[in-house]
């Protein structure tokens, strides 16, 4: 038993030590990530003055949120259509959906860049958003499909039978039922978009640097500790979101247990 805990501890350490180091160094007075010399909030202040980093953060949020919204809507509707209707080539489309997931990002990046060049589309936030929609769409569709496949049969018929129009059936019955699939698809799309480097590298234009691209390019000029501060803040936001969703889930379970 003792060994089991030791083993788990080791795994957790392996996973979280780098993150811990990052957080610690965000409070380091030295500007080199080598030795901890003293505690300071300085870098958090610097961060507010680092215009290019903040600009990149803004771009990242614009791209991630827009591409997530659009890919979630298109993905949900596509998944519903693929489930509900029979048409020629449905099987092929279902198979084709998996291909963007397995082909290397770099190939997708080059492909996207060549089509933008071919069509003379100017690279910028627009092309970034389009590209992010392209690679996250299959994830949304697959995630929604999985829930749709488990949806109790007949509930669509039941809604219509009880007087619901097609639109009301979709909104009042089907969407709430497949919501877990939609949200997990959206989260997947958001996280994929948030930290994408490879595809963004090919499809971003001047003035549309995203945060991962900005940090990546800073390696050449030297990473300043305000990046550590930014990363810590992002981590904090992630933990907050995760924490709230966990609390909500636990409450939900407790409520169900009570009745």
């Amino acid at each position: 038993m003792k060994w089991k805990n030791f083993y788990i501890g080791l795994v957790l350490l392996f996973l979280y030590l780098p993150i811990l180091v990052l957080i610690i160094f965000s409070f380091n007075t030295s500007s080199l990530n080598i030795l901890f010399e003293g505690f300071t909030f300085k870098w958090y202040g610097e961060l507010l003055n680092n215009v290019s980093l903040l600009e990149a953060l803004k771009n990242t949020l614009i791209v991630s949120i827009t591409s997530t919204l659009i890919s979630t809507i298109i993905g949900t509707i596509s998944a519903f259509a693929l489930k509900k209707y029979d048409f020629k080539g449905k099987k092929i489309i279902n198979q084709l959906l998996y291909i963007p997931i397995v082909i290397p990002e770099i190939v997708l990046g080059i492909a996207l860049l060549s089509i933008y060049t071919f069509l003379h589309v100017e690279l910028g936030l627009g092309t970034l958003i389009l590209s992010h929609i392209a690679f996250s769409l299959p994830f949304v569709i697959i995630s929604v499909r999985a829930v749709l496949d488990n949806m109790p049969s007949n509930i669509e018929d039941a809604a219509k039978d009880l007087g619901a129009s097609n639109i009301k059936t979709f909104w009042n019955v089907i969407v709430p039922t497949i919501m877990p699939g939609i949200t997990s698809g959206a989260f997947l799309a958001f996280t994929l978009s948030l930290d994408d480097v490879v595809i963004s590298y090919f499809t971003a234009g001047p003035g549309s640097n995203t945060l991962p691209l900005q940090i990546y390019s800073m390696i050449k000029t030297g990473v300043t500790p305000d990046v550590n501060a930014l990363a810590t803040l992002i981590l904090l936001a992630v933990f907050l979101v995760l924490g709230i969703s966990t609390i909500l889930q636990i409450r939900n379970i407790k409520r169900q247990v009570k009745v």
Partner: protein, 360 residues
């Protein structure tokens, strides 16, 4: 004559090359409990879905309460359906599920709540308002689906094998409950099942479907006791079917020589038979009486093969002279003869169902 509430006229349904329903006509009267009975794939659910509007016929018309609804959407028809496996909305509470139909009809909130309360009381689910379907047993889910289906006071309630997911005991209980509910509310029920016991127990009339046609539509008693075709006799209940030939006519009776035992002739009711007609004589297992060898009248010789105990009754397998298997049912405490005995079985003249060649 009662008022017709649902009429199917020249109703047909084809899927690609396959004809599922072949030009049938069906009238359902107000307040009756009609069962569409048939083996799976006979098209009974297709008929139901065409009445609710979830499906549409390939040919013919559907009339509900005098109005042609063939091309109307489900939401424009005053019928509701109980689905197989209940089809409750999984994320909604019991209350929300039941209320759904009223919400779609934009009934004001106060009235909705009042009606939901009434329905919960009707199906004995008071206090279950805030539960989710998955927190309910199969029987309770069934009750929710009944309440949900009835809250709009449909002119007709369509039931698509609603009891098939329940275990035997609960199913029997729900059969009685549904029947009582139907009588109490006076709503027309059209019930689809492949279970003949269910059909016999619950229905005012049964329509037996076979090969896309209505084989016979009649009361349970008539379907069981006076089947019009061999298929009906065979499908409903247990039956023994003997080949025979009319060899004599004597007023209201006719004599039949059975292939089973050519030495003994059986008397049956004459139904415009002619001498030489080939007939099938059908006898239900419970109508046989085992005789001692010396008192034979209207009887045939059999050899007792096997006894099968079944609680209140005992099933006997016997063989006729031509080796045809015969099923006999006797009450449990009846004194019975030993296996291997050759004896005679008798039945009343009225208990023979005699079908001519045209009914085959």
């Amino acid at each position: 004559m009662k008022r017709k509430i649902v009429e199917l006229k020249n109703f047909g349904k084809t899927f690609g090359e396959k004809t599922v329903i072949d030009n049938i006509n069906l009238d359902v009267y107000e307040g009756e409990f009609l069962t569409l009975l048939g083996s799976s794939g006979c098209g009974k659910t297709t008929i139901l879905r065409s009445i609710s509007g979830l499906d549409s016929p390939s040919t013919g018309t559907v009339i509900i309460d005098g109005k042609d609804v063939t091309n109307l959407e489900p939401m424009q028809r005053e019928v509701n359906t109980l689905f197989q496996n209940y089809a409750l909305f999984p994320l909604m509470t019991v209350e929300d599920n039941i209320e759904f139909g009223l919400k779609m009809k934009k009934v004001p909130k106060e009235e909705r709540q009042k009606k939901v309360k009434e329905m919960l009381k009707l199906v004995n689910l008071e206090g279950y308002e805030n539960r989710k379907p998955k927190e309910l047993s199969g029987g309770e889910q069934q009750r929710v689906s009944i309440a949900r289906g009835l809250i709009n006071r449909p002119k007709v309630l369509l039931l698509d094998e609603p009891l098939s997911a329940l275990d035997l005991k609960l199913r029997k209980k729900m059969q009685v409950e549904l029947k009582l509910l139907q009588k109490k509310l006076g709503i027309t029920f059209i019930y689809v099942t492949h279970n003949q016991d269910e059909a016999l127990t619950m229905s005012d009339r049964i329509a037996l479907l076979h090969n896309g046609k209505i084989e016979q539509i009649d009361t349970p008693v008539n379907i069981y006791e006076h089947p019009k075709t061999v298929y009906v006799a065979d499908f409903i209940g247990e039956s023994n079917m003997f080949d025979g030939e009319i060899i004599g006519i004597n007023g209201i009776y006719a004599s039949v020589k059975l292939a089973l035992d050519e030495e003994e002739n059986i008397k049956v009711i004459n139904n415009n038979f002619n001498i030489g007609d080939k007939v099938k004589v059908i006898v239900r297992p419970e109508n046989f009486k085992i005789l001692k060898a010396d008192e034979k009248t209207n009887s045939i010789e059999v050899k007792i093969k096997e006894y099968i105990y079944d609680g209140s009754i005992t099933n006997i397998i016997a063989k006729g002279k031509n080796n045809q298997e015969i099923k006999i049912t006797v009450p449990r405490n009846k004194t019975i003869v030993a296996k291997g005995t050759i004896t005679y079985i008798h039945w009343n003249i009225n208990d023979s169902i005699v079908l001519g060649e045209t009914n085959v």
